[in-house]
Structure formats: structure tokens, C-alpha cells
């Protein structure tokens, strides 16, 4: 007979409001392993904290997304959004699955090239493209998505200098019936700016206009917004054909598909409310197929989905450092992973789970990171069982943005480990050390 774990007695106030129809979960979810490998074992080998990526989940998710679109629309092409996670190992898997590269800087462009992506399979987005960047893109025959008129003028100048044609698309912002309207990128649809841009580009000698692009926002919870965007782009597509007797080649609906994370302030969990790939695909395909574009001239549909493809595949494993009681009596917990590693904790109520069945008595707690900064809060309110220091915890759905927006702040960035399809573990990014950080520094001799 095992000894029953001692728990400190706690007096908690009964809040007898109206419970939600789901009530309180009676069982605490726990994550003992990732793709069959015990969390303990991973942490023993690679330390704490440690990011873990599941190749299986990535490939499965990509296959789902691809199938959702390809069984609804004849020509679909995904482009992996580099900024979401540009670790070589991650990009390589998506490229292997057939995705192109969507980049927003010369750095990302070069990263894609270094991974063997064909220049003509790179979509170059973003508001910042220098003359050098444009030259690089033209030399590699990339698809340049023009953001504003000044960029267009610069591009015309560069193509003249190089005496080379550039393949371009324009970025369009539009009212898709959602709030907020993202109007800072690209040319506006409703006020005619986009049509104006199309006309100018069509007349430019050295520019091949091949596509229309929009990115209506991020974490879009309504599939219908995409349908609205798609039909607006379809209108421009047809208008271009009518005026210039020319068929553009693609319509790019950008990214923005929600993952299953729960946004802060959401009433229901993301797993219940976020649309599936099927719902997005249904909305977009129907909008394009039922537009006035003739069936045989339907454009290629590009999707720059990032978050929804990788978020679920990423885990952060962490260790409890301390338990405290705040002055209000609230239980708080310090773990060894903070907002320096979890940028997305500013947006989401991230799921934090123990690795084993603990007590069924849950108490509202706050989880702090290890930084010596007041803002370092991973969860400000979470029902959590009593845990001891040294307890291993798993934070799920952290594959997107965290491994690109993380900060080297106060401490080193940890190992990133990938579990491959044969359940073998590989370090895909090594833990930083003093050398990594100081090697770039120069200390003027005095």
C-alpha cells in the first residue's frame, strides 16, 4: 500500500454563481508522454526547460489541411510561413510535404534558399524590402508581393536596372466583415487603390503580375471572413481578365487560421470554438468555385497557414521551482519557463498540465515564470492541483511563434528537441551557452 501524499489543508471560498453548462472538470488532464516518449525521459536527457516538437503531429496536421483543401478545390498550394517557426528542421518537414516558402525578410529569404527551396517557390511578403532584397528576389525569380506604391516604384526601377522581369502579386487589404480590419498592409480594395495598383502593374513593362494576395488578419475565428475575402479577390481577378484579357495565376488568402489554443478572454475553450481546416476550406472553395471565374480558369489557391499547422506539434516541458502564497492567500507557483520563451502566453491561456495523475482537489493558482520581472506570468488564473517543487509540467500548443519570437533575456534559450516518425529524439536547436552570446560581442580595450 502506497503512502498517501500529504496535502496542506486549504480553506477556499465557495463561489455559488451560475456554473457554466460544462461545469468544472472533474478530472485533471495530464500528459505523461509525447509520441510515446515519457516526459521524464526527455527532460532527463535534454534538461529543463526544453521545447519538444512532434514530427508526426506536424505531418498529420499538414496532411489534414492539404486534404481539406485538395478535396474541395482543384489547385491548392501551401506556403510555409517562415516567421511562425523557421527552425531548419521544421521548415524542411513542411517543404518535404510539398509546401513552398512564405518569407517576409531577406533573412528568411536566405534561410529558405539555404534549405534548398527553389527561388521561384518563394513568396516574398512584408512591408520592408530594400533594393538589395528586391534584387535578390528578382534574381531568384521569386513571387514578390508588393505592399505599397513606393515599393512598386522601387521595383520598377530595379527591374529596369537589372533588365529583368519580376514576377509580382499585390497585397490587398479589405473589409472581410471582421474586426479589426487590417488595413496597414497592402492596397485597399474598397477605395479602389488595389485596382489602381493592378492597372499600373499591368502596364509596367518589366513586371509580370501573376497573383493577388490578402492577409485579413490573424487568429480569424470566422471561416466566413475568408469567403468574403475570396470573393472580393475573385472580383479583381475577373476584372483584370475583362480589361486586359489576361488570366492571373493565383489567389493567395494568406494565413490567419486559428489553432486550438484558447484566446485570453474567450468564454469557451479554443478546441470547441475554432474552425477546423474543413470549415475554412469549405468557405474558401465555395466562394471561389461559385464566383464568376470559369471553371477551367480557376486560379491556383495559395495558403500561407503557419500557426494552425505547427502550434499543436510544439510542447514546452518545464519544472516547478517553488510554491508560494500571495498576500491575498492565492496560491502561486514559479516554473523555470517564462515569457522569454513563451511569447504566445501574452495572447493565450496556455494549457499547462502535470505529467501524472495528481490530487483531484484543484485550486485557482497563478503560474509565474523565472524572470526577475513583474510581467513574467504564464497563467494568471488556472485551476491546478497541489504540486511539489521539482514536479514536471507540460505546456501544450506552443509550436507557433514561440521559437521565433522568444527572447534571449536574463537566461539562455533551451534545447529544442524533435521526435521523429521512428520516435527517435534529435536536438534541432542546441541550448545556448555563454559563448553563443558573447561571441558576437566586442569589448573595446581601454
Amino acid at each position: 500500500m502506497t503512502k498517501i501524499t500529504y496535502e496542506k489543508p486549504v480553506i477556499s471560498k465557495i463561489t455559488a454563481g451560475i456554473p457554466s453548462k460544462f461545469g468544472l472538470p472533474t478530472r485533471q488532464k495530464f500528459i505523461p508522454d509525447i509520441d510515446g516518449i515519457p516526459v521524464e525521459m526527455i527532460m532527463e536527457e535534454y534538461g529543463s526547460p526544453v521545447f519538444v516538437l512532434s514530427e508526426k503531429t506536424m505531418r498529420n496536421t499538414f496532411a489534414q489541411a492539404k486534404q481539406a483543401f485538395e478535396t474541395r478545390y482543384p489547385k491548392v498550394q501551401f506556403a510555409w510561413s517562415y516567421k511562425t517557426n523557421y527552425l531548419d528542421a521544421v521548415c524542411s518537414i513542411f517543404h518535404d510535404q510539398g509546401a513552398w516558402a512564405e518569407v517576409v525578410s531577406a533573412f528568411e529569404f536566405q534561410k529558405a534558399l539555404s534549405l534548398g527551396v527553389n527561388g521561384s517557390n518563394i513568396l516574398f511578403n512584408g512591408p520592408e524590402k530594400s533594393e538589395e532584397d528586391l534584387k535578390l528576389a528578382i534574381e531568384h525569380n521569386a513571387c514578390i508581393h508588393i505592399d505599397h506604391f513606393d515599393e512598386l516604384y522601387l521595383l520598377i526601377k530595379v527591374t529596369r536596372e537589372l533588365d529583368k522581369k519580376a514576377r509580382v502579386a499585390i497585397r490587398i487589404n479589405l473589409d472581410a466583415g471582421i474586426y479589426p480590419i487590417w488595413d496597414r498592409f497592402g492596397f485597399n480594395y474598397e477605395n479602389g487603390e488595389a485596382w489602381n495598383a493592378i492597372n499600373r502593374i499591368m502596364l509596367a513593362e518589366k513586371l509580370d503580375l501573376i497573383g493577388l494576395h490578402t492577409h485579413i488578419g490573424t487568429y480569424i475565428m470566422s471561416a466566413n471572413a475568408y469567403a468574403v475575402a475570396a470573393s472580393k479577390l475573385a472580383n479583381l481577378y475577373m476584372a483584370t481578365h475583362r480589361k486586359f484579357d489576361y488570366w492571373l495565376k493565383y489567389i493567395d488568402l494568406g494565413g490567419g487560421f486559428a489553432s486550438k489554443n484558447t484566446l485570453k478572454g474567450a468564454y469557451m475553450p479554443g478546441t470547441e470554438t475554432c474552425p477546423s481546416f474543413d470549415e475554412y476550406a469549405e468557405a474558401i472553395s465555395n466562394a471561389l468555385i461559385s464566383s464568376e471565374i470559369p471553371h477551367e480558369n480557376l486560379p491556383v489557391l495559395f495558403l500561407e497557414t503557419g500557426r494552425a499547422l505547427i502550434d499543436d506539434a510544439g510542447y514546452l516541458l518545464t519544472t516547478v521551482l517553488a510554491n508560494k502564497r500571495s498576500t491575498t492567500g492565492r496560491r502561486t507557483m514559479v516554473i523555470d519557463a517564462g515569457v522569454n520563451l513563451l511569447f504566445t502566453s501574452f495572447w493565450y491561456n496556455l494549457g499547462v498540465y502535470p505529467t501524472r495523475q495528481l490530487s483531484s482537489h484543484l485550486e485557482e493558482s497563478t503560474i509565474y515564470g523565472p524572470l526577475c520581472m513583474n510581467i513574467d506570468v504564464i497563467r494568471d488564473a488556472i485551476n491546478f492541483p497541489q504540486v511539489k517543487t521539482g514536479e514536471k509540467l507540460v505546456i501544450e500548443r506552443v509550436g507557433a511563434y514561440n521559437m521565433t519570437q522568444w527572447m534571449q533575456f536574463i537566461t539562455f534559450r533551451p534545447n529544442v528537441v524533435m521526435i521523429d516518425l521512428e520516435r527517435k529524439m534529435h536536438i534541432v536547436r542546441k541550448k545556448e551557452n555563454l559563448d553563443t552570446l558573447t561571441s558576437l560581442e566586442q569589448n573595446p580595450k581601454r
Binding site: T71, K249, E296
Partner: protein, 741 residues
């Protein structure tokens, strides 16, 4: 006034030669020369034959008949036979040759008449004009008093002595004494009799000529003769009459014509020879009785009757046959016909007028194929059920208790081909999962009429999802409705079938899809005119603009070719240099590429979905040959990592003793094979930018064992330049083809 505006000597010579070889349905010059020599064993007959041929062919030229047909000899051979016959019958004299000229003219016009009359039925005129020509002369024979009947053929040895002296006589005597077997003797006599020769030597020479020209023809001549011979014995017909009247050639010609020429040779055509020849024997014996009354010979009448009857009967078959195939385009040699069409039978299994594609987007899985275990039985066995499965092979996500859990539910269902909607049912509710509606068995259904005998039926569609109504014209790929769960459908799936009648519940028709990609472990295999099987994961190919453009050869298009060769052998080295190719079409409307330098031809066929090379004439030391081999079968729509398999006609790659031996048994069994495999390594991208790179691998096989491999890298660039590099044990050849602007 007859004028000869543009006769070239070469054309005349060719037409004369072919008029001789045409008697054996051949275009072989070698055989023709042998036959001319034989005809001159009796110089009277020889001159008579040659005179008649010249008269007929010059007439044809002068009157302006089709030059291609003239040079193939078909206007000359009947006159030739008449000339030979008349020349042999009478002592050579001016009057006789005048008679021959007139007979040749008459025969020529009879030829034209029968060409017209029988041509309407798609039938050859065989030697019917000869029969009429020779009968006209023979029946009037009694009145032609100025002519003396020849005494030749009675004193054979005297004539042989006159031809070749004592040695020749001795040689002939040796043959006569040593070939004592009556079967063999009559066989040679019968062969010789085709050219009105009465002695063994002519038959022997013809037999050798046939053997060298075509093994299949030679085998057929023996087969036909043997069957007739055995039948004579069986029914007890006086056997010596066969030797005396030389009527045996009817059996030989019938066997050659039906066994290997007008039909593609094979086991079945050989079988029919065994069945038909006794009939020829009966017709021969009976017609002889009638013609005796007229005091003329029946000559080749039995052969003509049986061949025409049989060919006509075959033409009236309603279903396009897979066996006993009429030679579509006559290549002039049974071996060529066999090797080409046995492969083509697999490449183009039938003339399918409707190129139906899979009626959906993306990858679907066949959950029940033809003759499936659940419901595709009996009259409804030629149908497919399609569903969508995920990476784990599951059809649904979640519990599978709701329609929406199923991947296929609500997915677009498309028109497989252009047509008219004749039926659209839209009002039947989807069943709850697991339940079936046997009352409205087919559920929501769309039936499309593609042509008078072909309808496609798509069933179990989603309630109120059908977007077309009866009378609508639909285009291939147009949205018809959505996959659902109505009718006898326990879980969502798409039922698809072809049928010949426009009704719901009609029986199914065995009809294939024009092409689809079959998913495999590492890529796809393209299937043409095939039937997806249970558990196959299939997807429609996506058209590649670059390939479609590069492989669309337009008549008049000229290509500039440059060739580099790396080889120790001189014959390969000679291939290096610059060439010019021209795309043309011929009278049969087939497109071919012609090399100006070496005159080789590569025939092609492009159905918008696929580029095929169909045949090649010329030498393998031509760059066009390697172009032909490399691009033998290239799909125009495909995905990277897809492959296609085919086989190249063996006569195009095998030569020498092996091929010679293969010819003998080719109708029964092919032990030589040439496998063609094309792998698409890089297809450019979905915007069709980037080069296409392919690899062809050609394996020459004997009894299934690879004896030689040719590896060919093919690159088609954005600028439409086709680069082919061939690598095999003897040489490395690089060919660059560029369109002339």
C-alpha cells in the same frame, strides 16, 4: 491523251517491284526480285508479266491515281498475274503481247471497279480482277486462232537446259530425286503455281524468299497447306489432283492473307486458319466441278471467296474485338503488325470516345470496386464506391456517428466528361449513419448523357445539394452536387457507374477512366484506360502547361537538332552533328516527325491528356530514333514522382538471330520484351514555372531477364528546349531539340 507529267524512274521501279511482291501481300524488294527471276524461268511468261505490270502502272500514273497506292503495287499485281498466265499459255509472238497489253488494260479497269465497289465495304479486291481478266482471255481462247498454244511446260528438262545448261539440269534432277515426299513436293508446286511455274525449283525459291521476308508468312504458308492436305486425306478427296492442278496455292494464300496480313497474327487468327481451310477445300472442289463445264480453271476463286467473306463478316461485329483484330494501318509485314498492335492493344485497348475522368477533386479511396463484395454484383457489377480516407486509412474523424465526421461528406462531385443531364434527383434525405433506404435505393442521383450509348450515374448525393437539373449542359469537371448519404448508403460515399441507358437503376457498363494517378508508397503511377480497384487511392492528374506545350507537335513545325556523341564505336560517332526535323501529317491523318537528313519517321498521337509515339521507321543511328524511344509515352498531366509503364514494339530494338527466331513463334508467345518506364522527377511547380525533368528507363528483356538497359534523362526547359541524354553500354548521346522560330 494520256500524259505522264511527273513520273520519276524511281517511282516506276518501285511500283513494278511492289506489284510482284504484292502477290504475297508484301512490300519486300528482295522478294520482288526473286519473283521476277522466277517469272523469267519461262521467258514468254516473264516478258508477258512485266509488260502487263508496266501497262497497268503507267495507266494508273497517266490517269492520275493515288501515287502512294501506285507505288505500293496494288494496281499492278492483278495485271501481272494475267500477263503471266497469258504469256505462259501461248507461244511468244507479237500477237500474244498485243493481247497481253489489252488484257492488262482490261484488268486494270476491273481493278479500279473492284477497288471502288469493295472499298465501300472496307474490303480489299484481292485477285478478283485477275480472275476476270484471265477468264476473259481464256474463254475467248478458242476464237483467237492467230495465237499458238505454248508447248512449254511439257519438256521441262529441255527448257532448263536452255536456261542454265547441263549443271542446272543436274541440279534440278538432284532436287527432283531427293524431294520425294508428296507433301513437300505439292507444297513447292503450289507455291510455284502462284507464279504459273510448274517445277519444284520455283516453289523452293519462293519459299526461301518468304522465309527471309517474313517468318510468320512462311509459317502460315505451311500451316495453311498442311491443314488442307490433312483435310484432303480425312474426307478422301483424290489427292493427286492437288499436285496436278496446282490449285493448292489457294490454301497458302488464304492462310497468309487471313492469318497474318488482314488480321493481326495471333493464336486466334492461327486457330481460324485451321477452321477455315477445310472450307476453302470444299469450295475449291465444288467450284472446280462447275468450271470444268466452262473449260477454264477456277484459279484463285476459292481464296477470294473465303477471304472476302470472312473479312466482311468480321467487319460487321458490333463490339470492338480484343482478339482477331483487323490490322488498323497496314505496315506491310505480319511481324510489324503483330509487334506494334499487340502493344497498342494494351496502350489503346479500344476506341473509347469519351475520356471520362474521376468525378471529384483530390485523393479518394475506392471502397468497393467492380464486382465488389457488398452490392456491386451481377448486372450492377461494373461500379465504384469512392470515399476519402486519412493517413491512417480511416474514413472519418471523431466518433463516426455523424455525417460531418466523414471526410467525403459534402465534398464536390463533378461531371466526369461533357454531357447533358438527363436525370437529377435531389429530394431524398440523408440516412442516419448505419441506416439504409432500400425504397429509394440510389438516393439523390445525377445521370449525365455523354453520347447515345454512354451515360454516367452518380448516386447517394447529399440532400438538396444537386446543382444541376435535367436538360442542363455540363462541362467536364463542373460541379454537380455533393457527396452524401442518401439511398442505400449506410455511410457517406459516392457511387459511380457507366451505363448504356438513361434510367436510374440501369445495369452497369464495363467502361474505364481515360487516366488517373494511383497513389503508391513513394509517388504515383499513371494508369490509362483502367479500372481503379478496391482500396486504390486515386487522383486526377493536373495538366502541366509546359509539357502540354512542348509535346504538342504541330504540322509544319520545324525543329533544329544538335547531337553530341561519346562512343568508341564509329557508327555511333557518325550520329553527331546538326539535323532538321519537320512535323507532317500523312493521308491517314496521322502525325509524324520526319528527319530531313536520314528520312526516318516517328509517328505520334496526342489526345490532350497524353503524348504517345506510336511507330518508327528508319535506323537506330538516327537521333529521331532516340527521341522516339525517350518520349514513347509521356502523360501531360501528372504530379512529381509519378511514373508510367509501357512496352516498346520489339522489332524496333531487337535485330538478328533472336528476333528471327522470335518471329516464328511470335503469334503464340513473345519471349522478347522491351519495358519502358518513365519517372517524372521534377514537374516544375503548380504555376508551371520551372523545368520538367524526367527519366526514362528502357529494359530489353529475354524471357523476363534484362539483357540491356538504356537510361535516358529528359529535360524540358521553360524555353521549350528538349534535352535528351541517352546512356547505355555502347555510347552516350546528347540530343538538343529546339523549335525553329
Amino acid at each position: 491523251m494520256i500524259t505522264f507529267p511527273s513520273i520519276k524512274r524511281k517511282e516506276i521501279v518501285q511500283s513494278v517491284l511492289n506489284s510482284y511482291s504484292q502477290v504475297f501481300f508484301s512490300g519486300s524488294n528482295f522478294l520482288a526480285v526473286l519473283l521476277i527471276i522466277i517469272s523469267f524461268f519461262d521467258y514468254g511468261a516473264g516478258i508477258g508479266g512485266l509488260l502487263a505490270v508496266l501497262v497497268a502502272n503507267l495507266l494508273a500514273y497517266g490517269l492520275g491515281y493515288n501515287k502512294y497506292l501506285i507505288s505500293s503495287g496494288i494496281y499492278g499485281y492483278n495485271a501481272l498475274l494475267v500477263g503471266l498466265g497469258v504469256g505462259l499459255f501461248y507461244q511468244p509472238s507479237f500477237e500474244v503481247y498485243a493481247l497481253i497489253v489489252i488484257a492488262a488494260v482490261v484488268t486494270f479497269f476491273i481493278t479500279i471497279v473492284f477497288q471502288g465497289v469493295l472499298g465501300k465495304y472496307g474490303l480489299p479486291f484481292l485477285s478478283i480482277p485477275f480472275l476476270f481478266g484471265i477468264w476473259i482471255v481464256a474463254l475467248s481462247g478458242g476464237d483467237l486462232t492467230a495465237l499458238n498454244i505454248s508447248e512449254r511446260g511439257i519438256f521441262t528438262y529441255n527448257e532448263l537446259y536452255a536456261l542454265g545448261g547441263q549443271h542446272f539440269v543436274d541440279f534440278y534432277d538432284f532436287l527432283e530425286k531427293n524431294i520425294s515426299n508428296s507433301f513437300v513436293r505439292i507444297y513447292f508446286h503450289s507455291l510455284g503455281a502462284i507464279f504459273f511455274q510448274s517445277h519444284l525449283l520455283a516453289g523452293i525459291i519462293i519459299a526461301i524468299g518468304l522465309l527471309i521476308y517474313s517468318r510468320i508468312t512462311f509459317v502460315l504458308s505451311i500451316l495453311g497447306f498442311s491443314v488442307a492436305f490433312l483435310f484432303y486425306r480425312l474426307v478422301g478427296i483424290e489427292f493427286s489432283s492437288l499436285g496436278y492442278t496446282f490449285i493448292g496455292f489457294n490454301y497458302i494464300l488464304t492462310a497468309i492473307a487471313l492469318g497474318g496480313y488482314y488480321l493481326v497474327p495471333g493464336r486466334v487468327s492461327f486457330g481460324w486458319i485451321i477452321l477455315l481451310l477445310p472450307a476453302v477445300v470444299l469450295i475449291t472442289t465444288s467450284t472446280q466441278q462447275i468450271f470444268i463445264l466452262l473449260r477454264v480453271s477456277a484459279y484463285s476463286l476459292p481464296f477470294n471467296i473465303v477471304v472476302l467473306m470472312f473479312l466482311y463478316a468480321l467487319k460487321l461485329r458490333e463490339k470492338r474485338p480484343r482478339k482477331l483484330l483487323e490490322t488498323p494501318v497496314q505496315l506491310g509485314k505480319p511481324e510489324k503488325n503483330l509487334y506494334l498492335y499487340s502493344g497498342n492493344l494494351k496502350r489503346f485497348p479500344a476506341a473509347y470516345p469519351v475520356s471520362a475522368t474521376l468525378p471529384f477533386l483530390g485523393e479518394w479511396t475506392v471502397s468497393q470496386g467492380h464486382s465488389g463484395e457488398y452490392t456491386h454484383k451481377d448486372a450492377w457489377r461494373h461500379a465504384w464506391d469512392f470515399v476519402i480516407t486519412d493517413r491512417n486509412g480511416e474514413q472519418y474523424n471523431g466518433s463516426g456517428d455523424f455525417h460531418e465526421d466523414y471526410y467525403c461528406f459534402g465534398k464536390a462531385v463533378l461531371a466526369p466528361f461533357d454531357g447533358t443531364v438527363v436525370e437529377a434527383v435531389n429530394h431524398i434525405k440523408d440516412n442516419t449513419i448505419g441506416d439504409v433506404n432500400t425504397k429509394e435505393n440510389w438516393g439523390n442521383t445525377v445521370i449525365i448523357k455523354h453520347n447515345d450509348y454512354l451515360y454516367a450515374k452518380l448516386s447517394h448525393l447529399k440532400y438538396h445539394s444537386v446543382e444541376v437539373k435535367a436538360g442542363d449542359q455540363v462541362k467536364k469537371g463542373q460541379l454537380l452536387g455533393r457527396c452524401g448519404n442518401s439511398g442505400r448508403s449506410p455511410y457517406p460515399h459516392l457511387h459511380f457507374q457507366f451505363q448504356v441507358t438513361p434510367y436510374i437503376g440501369s445495369v452497369t457498363l464495363d467502361y474505364p477512366f481515360v487516366n488517373y494517378l494511383l497513389k503508391e508508397n513513394n509517388g504515383y503511377t499513371q494508369k490509362n484506360f483502367e479500372f481503379p480497384k478496391k482500396d486504390d487511392i486515386v487522383v486526377n492528374p493536373v495538366k502541366n502547361e509546359l509539357l502540354s506545350k512542348a509535346l504538342h507537335f504541330i504540322p509544319g513545325q520545324r525543329m533544329n537538332i544538335s547531337v553530341e556523341v561519346d562512343s568508341p564505336k564509329e557508327k555511333w560517332q557518325k550520329m553527331a552533328g546538326d539535323f532538321s526535323w519537320l512535323v507532317q501529317t500523312d493521308v491517314y491523318n496521322s502525325t509524324f516527325i520526319k528527319c530531313d537528313k536520314d528520312q526516318s519517321l516517328a509517328y505520334l498521337h496526342n489526345n490532350d491528356e497524353q503524348h504517345y509515339f506510336t511507330n518508327f521507321t528508319g535506323t537506330k543511328y538516327s537521333p529521331l530514333y532516340w527521341f522516339f524511344v525517350a518520349l514513347f509515352n509521356v502523360p501531360i498531366g501528372f504530379l512529381a514522382n509519378s511514373r508510367i509503364n509501357d512496352s516498346i514494339p520489339i522489332n524496333l530494338m531487337f535485330t538478328g538471330a533472336l528476333k528471327f527466331f522470335q518471329d516464328f513463334i511470335a503469334p503464340l508467345y513473345l519471349f522478347l520484351n522491351i519495358d519502358y518506364k518513365l519517372v517524372i522527377k521534377d514537374a516544375g511547380d503548380i504555376l508551371s514555372s520551372g523545368d520538367v525533368q524526367m527519366k526514362a528507363e528502357i529494359n530489353k528483356k529475354i524471357l523476363g531477364k534484362t539483357v540491356n538497359t538504356y537510361e535516358i534523362e529528359i529535360k524540358i526547359s521553360q524555353e521549350n528546349v528538349i534535352q535528351i541524354s541517352v546512356n547505355f553500354n555502347e555510347a552516350k548521346i546528347n540530343i538538343t531539340c529546339q523549335n525553329e522560330l
